[in-house]
Symmetry: D3
Subunit: 331 residues, 6 copies
Amino acid sequence: MPLIDLPVEDLRRYRAPLTEPDGLEDFWSRTLEETRAHDLALRAERVDVGLPLVEVLDVTFAGFGGHPIKAWLTRPAGATEDLPVVVEYLGYGGGRGLPHEHTLWAAAGYAHLVMDTRGQGSGWGSGGATADPVGAGNATPGVMTRGIEDPHDHYYRRLFTDGVRAVEAARALDGVDASRVAVKGISQGGGIALAVAGLVPDLVAVMPDVPFLCHVRRALDVTDAFPYQELAVYLSVHRERVETVLRTFDHFDGLHLARRATAPALFSVALRDRTCPPSTVYAAHNHYGELTAERTGTRPTAEMVEYPFNQHEGGQQHQLARQLRWFADRI
Amino acid sequence: MPLIDLPVEDLRRYRAPLTEPDGLEDFWSRTLEETRAHDLALRAERVDVGLPLVEVLDVTFAGFGGHPIKAWLTRPAGATEDLPVVVEYLGYGGGRGLPHEHTLWAAAGYAHLVMDTRGQGSGWGSGGATADPVGAGNATPGVMTRGIEDPHDHYYRRLFTDGVRAVEAARALDGVDASRVAVKGISQGGGIALAVAGLVPDLVAVMPDVPFLCHVRRALDVTDAFPYQELAVYLSVHRERVETVLRTFDHFDGLHLARRATAPALFSVALRDRTCPPSTVYAAHNHYGELTAERTGTRPTAEMVEYPFNQHEGGQQHQLARQLRWFADRI
Amino acid sequence: MPLIDLPVEDLRRYRAPLTEPDGLEDFWSRTLEETRAHDLALRAERVDVGLPLVEVLDVTFAGFGGHPIKAWLTRPAGATEDLPVVVEYLGYGGGRGLPHEHTLWAAAGYAHLVMDTRGQGSGWGSGGATADPVGAGNATPGVMTRGIEDPHDHYYRRLFTDGVRAVEAARALDGVDASRVAVKGISQGGGIALAVAGLVPDLVAVMPDVPFLCHVRRALDVTDAFPYQELAVYLSVHRERVETVLRTFDHFDGLHLARRATAPALFSVALRDRTCPPSTVYAAHNHYGELTAERTGTRPTAEMVEYPFNQHEGGQQHQLARQLRWFADRI
Amino acid sequence: MPLIDLPVEDLRRYRAPLTEPDGLEDFWSRTLEETRAHDLALRAERVDVGLPLVEVLDVTFAGFGGHPIKAWLTRPAGATEDLPVVVEYLGYGGGRGLPHEHTLWAAAGYAHLVMDTRGQGSGWGSGGATADPVGAGNATPGVMTRGIEDPHDHYYRRLFTDGVRAVEAARALDGVDASRVAVKGISQGGGIALAVAGLVPDLVAVMPDVPFLCHVRRALDVTDAFPYQELAVYLSVHRERVETVLRTFDHFDGLHLARRATAPALFSVALRDRTCPPSTVYAAHNHYGELTAERTGTRPTAEMVEYPFNQHEGGQQHQLARQLRWFADRI
Amino acid sequence: MPLIDLPVEDLRRYRAPLTEPDGLEDFWSRTLEETRAHDLALRAERVDVGLPLVEVLDVTFAGFGGHPIKAWLTRPAGATEDLPVVVEYLGYGGGRGLPHEHTLWAAAGYAHLVMDTRGQGSGWGSGGATADPVGAGNATPGVMTRGIEDPHDHYYRRLFTDGVRAVEAARALDGVDASRVAVKGISQGGGIALAVAGLVPDLVAVMPDVPFLCHVRRALDVTDAFPYQELAVYLSVHRERVETVLRTFDHFDGLHLARRATAPALFSVALRDRTCPPSTVYAAHNHYGELTAERTGTRPTAEMVEYPFNQHEGGQQHQLARQLRWFADRI
Amino acid sequence: MPLIDLPVEDLRRYRAPLTEPDGLEDFWSRTLEETRAHDLALRAERVDVGLPLVEVLDVTFAGFGGHPIKAWLTRPAGATEDLPVVVEYLGYGGGRGLPHEHTLWAAAGYAHLVMDTRGQGSGWGSGGATADPVGAGNATPGVMTRGIEDPHDHYYRRLFTDGVRAVEAARALDGVDASRVAVKGISQGGGIALAVAGLVPDLVAVMPDVPFLCHVRRALDVTDAFPYQELAVYLSVHRERVETVLRTFDHFDGLHLARRATAPALFSVALRDRTCPPSTVYAAHNHYGELTAERTGTRPTAEMVEYPFNQHEGGQQHQLARQLRWFADRI
């Protein structure tokens, strides 16, 4: 891929046209309230995976609708103090996989909770273990259009809420310092992290890499790559519902939720990324925390790391090394 | 595509290795029994689509689990006698669309019921209107792997049952001759038609074109084309569940249900079809009604039309012309 | 495909640079005059296709050069009054196919004439039955470059003339109301419809969908998709003939002929259409009937339906439903 | 491409099932007789192309139907004796191009006549200059299906006849030794060369490289590559004409004509060739001259050069070097 | 990809035709002797990568020609006893990357040495740091054909020798139990591991996953996928050197070296792997250690794990989990 | 490909941002000085290729580092006067091939020296015969990134120097008029020709067609086609070295060296060329000789031939015909 989006100078100062729906905050506060009416139902069972240096727990908690959501918690074996915890969300189609895949943050001395993604986990990698027990109307394959006719029914209402509950679960676990929780994720994981950053007020750090689900209306104009393509396919069939569908998605646009974030952030973007085009990532970055600034007078910092020659793989291990250093400086 | 499967001489005499699960008939008879515990809840409302020659009804009936399933019924405007009815099922990803799309069988003097496909209808065409209100565990995008861990949970248990109920709905409608019901469909629609042919004892004709969902185990060996590919992707992730998954699918394999069919059939096959490879179609054809023959001494006829240079599009309008003649001869 | 052309706001007001050749009207009036020197030689034979509701006639008439051109006429069986007639032209590579494919407009109460396309009809669908008895110089495969060295020899001179003669044939048939003739078509069919709309003065309606052959010079700059690609391939070989070839095509550009149209039009465009890029469709729409306005003071109306998420398939059945309503309002 | 056809050991002894039509020899003798009823109308005009070492003539002669066919003749400038002549035919879609492209055989001391291909010459390269003034029925783009309904109307009847006439033209030119004429060509050019080898009794050498148009029925089974694909597309549309079409092509199958060849041949084949699969080339080679052997007791030699890792490009310059040596040994 | 190779039953008993060059063992013993004439020049420097649980050393040792080769050594921080060590080789185009990528085997309580690949490391991932200071003749891009004219000059002579020296370096490092060394790798890494298993007599375990470079002659027949394709491209150009090139590669074929292996092995294979076709993996497996059996009467065990629905990604984390268990059982 | 770069009007006046490294001229003058410290070691041996009209010599000379570089010299057999000589460089991946491929310029009455490309010659065509005996650090397959960390180590330092030495070799050969030397080449060959034109002061003509290696920084932004893609892949892995790598390439950018050219030039450009985008070609053209103009007051002429419908194949034989005329006018 050559460059496919605005010149980098324009990206850095890009201001997105906002399409926030009325009542966005109400929508989310009611959603979380309903969810919290269910008990968190937290369970955490020790798993032996043959790694003497790392302790692994198989975690279950109640997400949206009280549905059971799986996660892996890893931490240094034998750690006695309460540790900061990094909550991680996964890319589109993946699942939490096997526990030995997630040992780096434990090796770095932290607790690490990887949340499984409901109903996904069968597209690549080692598989997931969390159902989405909610059916849907007509939908294009994949989850992008499940329940698309109404924000209350939409898949991402459930998944983002699971993400908030994952933070609550992490805080409730033994050996975790509930005052030092970070969220992170790549692609869809980055989109969830941004959403959670806008919905949970007291995180210590946010690390979204090449986040998906930001500035969706523009994404549909500049890319036809999977998985945004699922939306385009749906709209190519249901030609009469374009505005309804886009309006639903406005409730889940990372751009809108990121404006409400309060914690410092380390973003990354890839300039040849057709999956999550750079202008959509910059849109979330450039508006990050701006409503918090209006409300409190203080805007959270938001650094951006650019990978000029990468496609959606982004910075990969280079970015991870950077996050380890950046996060250590903040804790 | 050049020829991708066995030489045509071998196809014609191909005998598939059968992998029928124990209790297949019990599984289905219990499924239908449970379904029939719900009222059929049939509704049919006249729709004005600006076609003076054709009357259109928007039909709703209770499918699997009592869930509402939509359909279009068309028939010659002003017909006074009870007409034979052709029940049609749709290809993968499609929906019942708009009513004016389905006027040919009415123009030919029949009633015609097109069943919408639950949860699909957003991949191509003009859209569907029927939800699948049942959630699922981890699944690959699409419906092939929804509920794949257990035959009772699997998507096709619901959809095939809807197909049986569509026949019951057709029979219950005014102006229909309940003793003259045929089923038909292309690709997934053909797979449903074969399943219904094995589950409903008193049809007058079955017209499956390039049917999907037949001899699935072989299909996975000889093609990687969508949508069989959904299963392969699932199994490439869930490496430990291969036999479980294939066993689930054995309950829905058109090959196994076709053996129980009783009505005369007109099949078609395309010799360059990578979506539904010809050996999988021939498998269903060559075993068609063989259990009925064992049980009753009479084997239903099963003609096959070969399209040697076609891919999955098959015979298209040529086959439709043939069906009109063949069906007229039988009614 | 993401958006590939101008932003939609610019499309709506796009004014194309015109490259009308001198003598365009003379060229066409002489062409039609020569054609009309041949007798129309109209024949129409009843065909039994097993559809009691629809009467089908196999029509032959003399097109350009007096060559025999085939068509299907369908109309409600037993209709006694003279009916309005819709003349339809076909997409690139297709043929008139089988008569049962064309029953919708009859079901809607109209006569319907589908003109076969000379020399095409073997690329998709059910086949054509009309030869193009004229040879050509060196040409790229396909018809775009046949006779490209001189407008008098070019394939589209023959085909557009056939299109005009199809209207004359429709008018001459029994049971048709010659004062109420509409033309329509998709892609190439839409291009022919626009050409005929500029060449025949007394039509009642024009319905071009995603029309091909409009603003060809721009199309060559913004797309490399088939079939415009045929021209680009020719010019990549015959590097010395660029202006000659483009000049030939100027005689057949739907943009130039549409300026002379007199009947009200209902266009459709797909914003992700790489085959017939939206700016080329808007070019024809935005100039539609402007010369008629200059000459008569009255400009025919031209509505446009936009399909923002569709590729070349455009509105499909949704647009057809719209045409049925729009046409009924006008008749 | 990995190997796509039979193992090489099987290729070397492959015997094709023959499908020669009755009356094949009559068909061709009558065709040539009709053609020779037209005067050869040979013209040859000196062209200055700025190459002091090579003399170039722009040749025109009457091919099938008396139609004018163009060719380039090149020979060493200032040669005074009568030279052997190599007649070359061109690959599918190409034209004779510019005269300076064809100087190698002149540099080697021979006369060289490159025949243009009627109606082609606009797909790649530098262009052709010969029209095909004969129209056709419905056809897939390209020439493979022009006139396919009847061998008398088929394009290759005209082109192969042009090929025979090119030999006659070469012999009639000044400075050529009419007793030493060879034919050669790559792909389609090789197919023409084989046909001419079967139709002209007194050639001195035949050099077909990766010849097209041999054992067409098998080619359709083992490849879907262009240009055999044109036939497959035609038959996928005209589903009812399979045997008619294949029968027409039997008249032009290089396999059938090669059996009648009399001159020694140097073939080449590429084992990864999907365009002209190796079994189709070996079919022509393994049957080469076998009828001549029956009739005369002497079978012409036929060497084969295998390129095991090449696709349709075959031996390219390596094969040309080989031909230069092989031909020099024979003259 | 559907199945592309032999049926699985045939794979399991597949016996490859062997093409071992004369003097294979001499070739390798002389190569290692020459290499060992250079001092090992081992250096290992502590690197701080912010992982309190894992100690990382940046290792350099002298490989083939005494050239400096880089590696990462990781082990549990603060381990005091001598640990078993796993030496890992990398896939084609990758490099040793960043040290935090390689912490799993340390987390499992072992030392782990990841050898960088000379001259590669710029195709994917996080990069390499080892030059290949040897030039080459004409070569296709990539390393497969560098020095292909003579086994002494070939790239894999250098790389396999580096692999042997990596074992020697691992044994010479502090804190390593030199009697418990395993080798492993995926794809090219698996090919190197097999070669090292045949060249180093006293390993405790060998874990090749979907190994590349095995039964190369067959691989060229059944796949055209990268990187075997590099060889095919070379041979398509250098048409005269086929046997020379294949003969060179025979010296590096994992099949030939695996016959000499002495340690127990755990293989894995993917049945839809076009990059390293399953028959080539089974060839190495089925001949594994057979010469050792001849010489010593004892054949090393060789287990095979099949992944029936995977392409070249193979078992991924599932296989890694299996290796952790299998290796723990053996140590 | 549709148009992919600036509108043609903008291309014609496009001024590139220059990124010439300091000391560019010193870099090159020192490089040539070091090279000339090696004897030219010229050898030229007569080869019999069976072409009586053309004499062929197999030439070897010392290029960069004194490494032996191969070339073919062809000239009219028996020519007695000293002839102008055309030195030709080759496209990426190709080699000098077989001598009979290069006879046109001899047929036109000139001497012609085709320089082989070190280390390439195995990607297409008939092969090369020149090694690159210099190793490299980590590199992406291909030569673009060999030695990319330092301009002194970079592959193109060696190759461009070979290009200069080829001119010196041509001048030193018998039968050549050293005062009439032209350079030419297509793609990479055009890039070398431009570099040589900037490094050798007394050429008579320069003929670069669709030159590669010009305005590389822009090329990376507007295309992802091979071979520029090699650089992009390298930078996607070595994310931390972007500026170092681009800085290295600045030393070899044809744009920078073309500014120093002194001889008249005939360029060609293809407007649909994704391999060497037209703005990069125009960049070199529009700056051609501008420093010479500053220094001497005289700017060499630079004509441009545009091929508006061609991709990277450009003008092919049409351009060659043009060069023959243009060069004849200049000599």
